[in-house]
């Protein structure tokens, strides 16, 4: 499926500055993407691995920037530094017993702990030639090794770590830019997803219409509308009795 669609080329023509601008600030994205920021979670060594790894998982090409250009490493850092990294919405009581594939994740680690453990083991293993200094082919081979084996990374099986890294990479590429990834809405423009725009009543039955309005982030919801119909008494405070 390596063919490059006509549509992609057209889009790249219109918006070709994306990969050149890379991480430069975008007035449209709403967030000052170029502001230098120290990682909140990752050490310098960890950050180097993540930045290089996501650039191979979703690489840049002649049409579209990849995960690096979309700021995915920044997204992952913010997620792991925050509530998600600390185990938000994760049932965390033991006993901790290995389960079947259909029982899902059963390790005692929060996402932050899992990344710290696994990255520590990886960077120790690769001390001689850090991942970020490898050739692209060697990087791909190493990522494939993580993906397809259960090598022990400080208590974290490598395939479990890879799956977490992959999920966060996809999230960082396609989630709203307010979370620090999907810079310039690169992921959305690549597939043609309009983002938070979200009102298509007049278009939904224009079957096959080419929708080329630029995507919109939560941060720039121009409508800022609140439904205030006096005839709809739907907002009621909890009665106090």
């Amino acid at each position: 499926m390596s063919e490059i669609s006509r549509r992609s080329i057209l889009k790249a023509g219109a918006l070709g500055a994306v990969t050149i601008l890379g991480g430069a600030a975008s007035s449209r994205a709403g967030a000052p993407a170029s502001t230098p920021r120290a990682p909140l979670f990752f050490t310098a060594e960890e950050a180097a691995f993540i930045d290089a790894a996501v650039a191979r998982l979703i690489p840049a090409d002649e049409q579209w920037g990849g995960a690096r250009e979309a700021g995915v490493a920044n997204y992952v850092d913010l997620q792991l530094a925050g509530a998600w990294g600390a185990g938000e919405r994760l049932y965390r009581s033991g006993p901790w017993v290995p389960g079947t594939a259909s029982q899902g994740y059963q390790l005692p680690f929060t996402p932050a702990e899992l990344f710290r453990k696994a990255l520590g083991a990886i960077n120790k293993e690769l001390a001689a030639t850090p991942f970020a200094k490898m050739s692209a082919a060697k990087q791909d081979a190493y990522l494939r090794h993580l993906e397809t084996s259960s090598t022990d990374l400080g208590g974290v099986p490598s395939d479990v770590f890879f799956m977490h890294l992959w999920e966060l990479t996809v999230e960082g590429f396609f989630s709203d830019p307010v979370y620090g990834g999907n810079r310039d809405m690169l992921g959305w423009r690549m597939v043609g997803f309009p983002g938070a725009y979200a009102s298509y009543y007049e278009l939904v039955d224009q079957h096959g219409v080419k929708f080329d309005r630029p995507p919109m982030s939560l941060a720039e919801d121009a409508n800022r509308h609140v439904h205030m119909d006096p005839n709809i008494p739907a907002y009621l405070l909890t009665p106090s009795k």
């Binding site: 919405r89 017993v97 079947t100 899902g104 994740y105 791909d140 096959g208 939560l218 119909d229 907002y235």
Partner: protein
């Protein structure tokens, strides 16, 4: 030490669909009702408004509106000889929490069940015989509901008009209607509103399925096709096809929910009091164990209260209804070794799956222009709409093109053979995102003596109470059914013009890490025999007659369709009996 509160006539455990609907009926009948909701109060304005509501990461991926696993999870195993382990993050099913419950984040898919679904065992035996049923699987424990479609029809009608369901009738009083579903059970009158606009993927499905001789119809929807005022005087607005419906709350007043169709009236009723952030620990019984005296709950500050009540309505999510009965010692727990006991028995799910149809790249599907219940479907393979006598299974699935927003973190299809990451993956995602159609299969879940719910012996919730333990795998019968339909769906995908059609169909074992359906059913089932049911045909507990357990936990097995409208109809049916008979002479409505 629990603080004892002033007694009330009735209490509901949960304020979602059944809790708000039942409370309104009872409050309007003049009784005092307290609604206890474990989650927070929330309203369309300001809680569901944009921009924050249109956030895939927060709501669809991180499950922002769902039960908090940190506090309460469910343990799971496929088979009873395994050790159940906690579902540490929701994936396969998504119980909601907070005012309005799962009826806030639902899609609005608004079907009735069919006539044969209610007398299911009798129907199967009459059409195919005992030998056939035994051959489908000796472990199958299908039952009749104890209520008929004809008895529920007026309640279906009433509930559909409450929601403002949009659709095209297929069968009005036995007369088949053009454009509707010719397989549907007879309805008294047309839907309250016309169907939604047809999406492009729906139109392509209509053409493909129609060319094969099937019977396409617009999916009935509680995303409104036009402004509507319901019988309570509450106004709903027209759905704008925003693409943020499933797993989201509606900002537009365009999806039927307790917030849009019930609560504004209920909260003004002087007989009603809502208490949110209240976790009910148990239903209290008197020394005879045959009468409930009320409930004990803990508020968000950790204070414990006893709320005395004459009538207790269990109105939580189906799984939590079963857990509440088990925690309270109401009904005999099911024992899979002996087949005795009832609470937890006949836990059922929904058999889903479907095909992915990759289209030509000059066809812009625009799948993000969508609602929660869009698209076009067929019932040719639903329930018992086709002859099973040579097929070796019972049950069926509806088939339809239903895409609910195509938000890209979760929707980025690639054809078989595409690498899982890297350059080729990225190009395939860019190529196929706007040119791919999903066809959904959605169908029956047959009860089995091997599948059940009980209390976990090891894992506890934040209040120190045992988690619910689920033991479940799809019966072989349901696998055969799903695989049979999967073949037909591939033909439809090709007829739609699919360049590549990836076959669907369910496989064993059931896996909790992949989203399938939030239609958990059974476990506190209704019936006519106290040895094989927890509640009678009016959803009244056989063992404790002043406790009624409402909702899909009462389904003896699950039918083809999304179940919300049937839950509503069954709630009205039970409440009619409570108002007209039980309140006049409290006691068993059916003699055991």
């Amino acid at each position: 030490m629990a603080t004892r509160l002033k007694p009330v006539d009735a209490v509901t455990i949960g304020v979602g669909l059944t809790g708000s609907l039942a409370a309104l009926e009872i409050a309007q009948a003049g009784l005092t009702v307290v609604g206890l909701e474990r989650g927070a109060a929330r309203y369309t304005v300001p809680d569901f408004q944009s921009p924050p509501i249109h956030d895939e990461l927060r709501f669809a991926v991180r499950k922002g509106l769902m039960q908090d696993n940190v506090k309460e999870a469910v343990t799971f195993r496929n088979y009873s000889d395994q050790t159940a382990l906690p579902i540490r993050r929701w994936a396969s099913f998504l119980p909601g929490t907070g005012l309005g419950g799962s009826f806030v984040h639902w899609n609005g898919q608004s079907f009735r069940f069919q006539e044969a679904d209610f007398g299911y065992r009798s129907h199967i035996l009459q059409r195919y015989g005992q030998k056939f049923l035994d051959a489908c699987g000796p472990e199958l424990t299908i039952q009749d509901w104890g209520v008929t479609y004809a008895e529920l029809e007026p309640h279906y009608d009433r509930f559909e008009y409450l929601l403002g369901v949009c659709g095209t009738a297929g069968n009005i009083q036995g007369k088949i209607q053009p454009g509707g579903n010719p397989f549907e059970a007879p309805r008294a009158r047309e839907y309250p509103n016309p169907p939604m606009k047809e999406t492009y993927f729906g139109a392509i499905f209509r053409k493909g399925a129609g060319s094969l001789g099937y019977h396409p119809y617009p999916q009935p929807s509680s995303n409104l096709s036009r402004p509507y005022t319901n019988p309570l005087g509450l106004k709903l607005q027209q759905c704008v096809f925003c693409g943020f419906c499933e797993r989201f709350a509606c900002e537009h007043f365009a999806k039927a929910s307790p917030q849009t169709t019930i609560l504004p009236v209920l909260l003004k009723n002087p007989n009603y009091e809502l208490r949110t952030n209240c976790q009910v620990l148990r239903i209290n019984l008197d020394s005879t164990r045959k009468k409930a005296t009320g409930v004990t709950y803990v508020d968000d500050a950790g204070r414990e209260f006893e709320q005395p009540a004459e009538l207790v309505l269990v109105t939580a999510f189906p799984l939590n209804n079963v857990r509440m009965l088990l925690l309270s010692g109401i009904g005999k727990p099911y024992d899979p070794r002996t087949g005795e006991g009832v609470v937890g028995r006949n836990y059922c799910y929904q058999t889903t799956g479907g095909a992915t149809v990759f289209m030509d790249e000059n066809i812009n599907i625009n799948p993000f222009m969508s609602s929660g219940a869009p698209g076009t479907m067929i019932d040719d393979f639903s329930g018992d709409n086709f002859d099973h006598s040579k097929l070796g299974f019972i049950g069926g699935q509806y088939v339809g093109s239903i895409m609910t927003g195509a938000r890209p973190i979760e929707f980025h299809p690639t054809p078989p053979g595409t690498p899982a990451w890297g350059q080729e993956w990225k190009r395939a995602v860019a190529r196929h995102y706007n040119h791919t159609i999903l066809i959904q299969q959605h169908g029956t879940s047959t009860a089995s003596r091997l599948n059940y719910l009980d209390l976990d012996p090891t894992y506890k919730d934040a209040w120190g109470q045992p988690l619910l333990r689920m033991t479940f795998d799809f019966p072989e019968n349901d696998i055969r059914m799903s695989q049979h339909v999967a073949d037909k769906v591939v033909d439809i995908g090709r007829a739609m013009g699919g360049k590549i059609v990836v076959r669907g169909g369910t496989k064993r074992p059931y896996n909790t890490t992949i989203y399938q359906s939030t239609h958990n059913a059974g476990g506190a089932i209704m019936g006519s025999n106290p040895r094989t049911s927890v509640v009678n045909r009016y959803l009244q507990c056989w063992d404790v007659p002043n406790v009624f357990s409402l909702g899909a936990s009462a389904f003896p097995q699950n039918a083809t369709y999304n179940y919300t409208v049937t839950i509503g109809a069954l709630t009205y049916w039970a409440l009619e009996a409570i108002k007209n008979r039980y309140l006049k002479a409290p006691g068993p409505l059916v003699q055991a």
